[in-house]
């Protein structure tokens, strides 16, 4: 039923072409119709030619064969073309978002500099202004670093510097670093760590990116005045790290997509959320590259728990 409906939907050429924002000659649905006309014309031509030289049955078979062949070829070409147009559309959406996200911190730096230059440089005001410029610069660097890591993962050129380190210390460092963010969001973070935990064996910088991302994600999705709990405990030869919030949770329909690159649930979401849609994708890839596993459980409207485990010793 769905495919029949889909077929009739595709016949609405004008609407479909508008969807891709492309001129008529570059629109898959229009080309499909055009191809149909060419096929019908070819079949008539083949029929006329065949009926001159062959028996009617043979002629009919030739025509049928040619028709089927042309139809299949046509469908394959149009199908692949459609996929290309979809990718290109997704790419331009992506570029629009990227340029927005990269320009925000740069605009903040630009305006802050303008304010500093037009006013008093000295004293506390000037110091705060310069600190703000520094923060925005760091934000910009983080965005670009995440981008580069995603590219390296894709390209298989990522370099890991694994060593033993304490996940407990790393978590404390991250919490200290993001404390202004949690304070302004009015979120309390509780950190519970089992005693006597062994260090993990992984790339510390990369895991720091994971912890930072999962923590600020929980903070961002929590309502002011609520708490977020982080747990650290032994799980066999692994150390388990988890974070639970009582935020909005992950809708069931989105659960499968959440670790995908540049995942954004819908157009509404597109205009309501900052970030690149790279954080959870990177978290998953980085944990897996370090020999661990990552996952989450969530109830919509009640909250989510994101967790990962990392090995305590060199595996494989």
């Amino acid at each position: 039923m769905g495919s029949i409906k889909n077929f009739f939907q595709q016949l609405n050429v004008a609407a479909e072409c508008r969807k891709y924002d492309s001129p008529l000659l570059a629109c898959p649905q229009f080309l499909f119709i055009l191809m149909g006309v060419v096929i019908i014309a070819s079949i008539i031509a083949v029929h006329l030619a065949a009926s001159r030289f062959a028996e009617p049955e043979i002629s009919a078979l030739i025509v049928l064969f040619v028709a089927a062949f042309l139809l299949i070829v046509g469908k394959v070409i149009v199908g692949s073309f459609e996929r290309l147009v979809e990718v290109s559309k997704a790419k331009s959406n992506f570029i629009a978002i990227i340029s927005h996200q990269l320009r925000e911190p740069l605009s903040a730096i630009k305006w802050q500099t303008e304010l500093l230059l037009s006013g008093d440089f000295s004293g506390e005001k000037g110091k705060t202004g310069i600190e703000r410029i520094g923060d925005q610069n760091q934000k910009m660097l983080n965005l670009i670093n995440n981008f580069i890591i995603a590219y390296q993962i894709e390209d298989n050129t990522i370099r890991l510097e694994k060593k033993h380190f304490s996940l407990q210390d790393l978590t404390r460092d991250v919490l200290a670093k993001i404390s202004p963010e949690t304070a302004s969001a009015d979120i309390k973070i509780n950190f519970f760590a089992q005693e006597g935990l062994l260090p993990v064996f992984a790339d510390q910088k990369k895991i720091q990116t994971v912890v930072e991302h999962l923590t600020s994600n929980s903070v961002n999705y929590s309502s002011p005045g609520t708490a977020v709990n982080i747990y650290l405990k032994k799980e066999g030869n692994f150390i388990g790290w988890s974070i639970s919030d009582s935020g909005s949770g992950v809708p069931e329909t989105e659960a499968k997509e959440i670790f995908k690159k540049f995942f954004r649930s819908s157009n509404v979401f597109l205009y309501q959320k900052g970030g690149l849609g790279l954080g959870l994708y990177l978290a998953k890839k980085l944990v897996e590259l370090n020999g661990g596993r990552i996952g989450f459980s969530s109830i919509e409207g009640k909250g989510s728990t994101f967790w990962f485990i990392l090995p305590t010793s060199q595996t494989k």
């Binding site: 629009a96 320009r103 305006w111 304010l115 703000r132 509404v268």
Partner: protein
């Protein structure tokens, strides 16, 4: 929300989620205007309905309710639809700009292309009309 208001000054509501951009805009605009700040769409809409300001500065990518929705709701209400809205965004797609202008915004300014001083000038000009 900023409570200190000056009766002689015009009231402006800024709806902008980026705290740094918000602070810079506040610093530049509060010299000449009474500035009220909101950090997300729903709160921004509430501020507009409560205060009925003389002008609104609106970002587009906002938590809870996007700038498009905020603009649509303001323009959909008889009592508020005449308030001039200046959209300040770093989105530069033709579709976004067309959509905002069709909804009745006064101007679409791309943050990266404008100095703060220019933004202030454009807002002042809006009041001189």
């Amino acid at each position: 929300m900023d409570k200190i208001t000056n009766q002689n000054k015009k009231n402006i509501v800024i709806i902008e989620d980026d705290p740094e951009l918000q602070k810079s805009l506040f610093a530049a605009l509060s010299v000449d205007f009474n500035v009220f700040q909101a950090h997300e769409g729903e709160g921004g809409l509430r501020a507009v309905f409560d205060l009925k300001p003389d002008l609104i500065v609106l970002d587009l990518i906002l938590p809870k309710k996007s700038g498009f929705e905020v603009l649509e709701e303001i323009k959909g209400k008889q009592e508020f639809k005449e308030i001039p809205v200046i959209v300040l965004s770093n989105l530069e797609g033709r579709a976004e700009i067309n959509r905002v202008m069709a909804l009745g915004a006064k101007a679409y300014l791309i943050k990266a292309y404008y100095d703060l001083a220019e933004v202030v000038k454009i807002i002042k000009k809006e009041f001189d009309k």
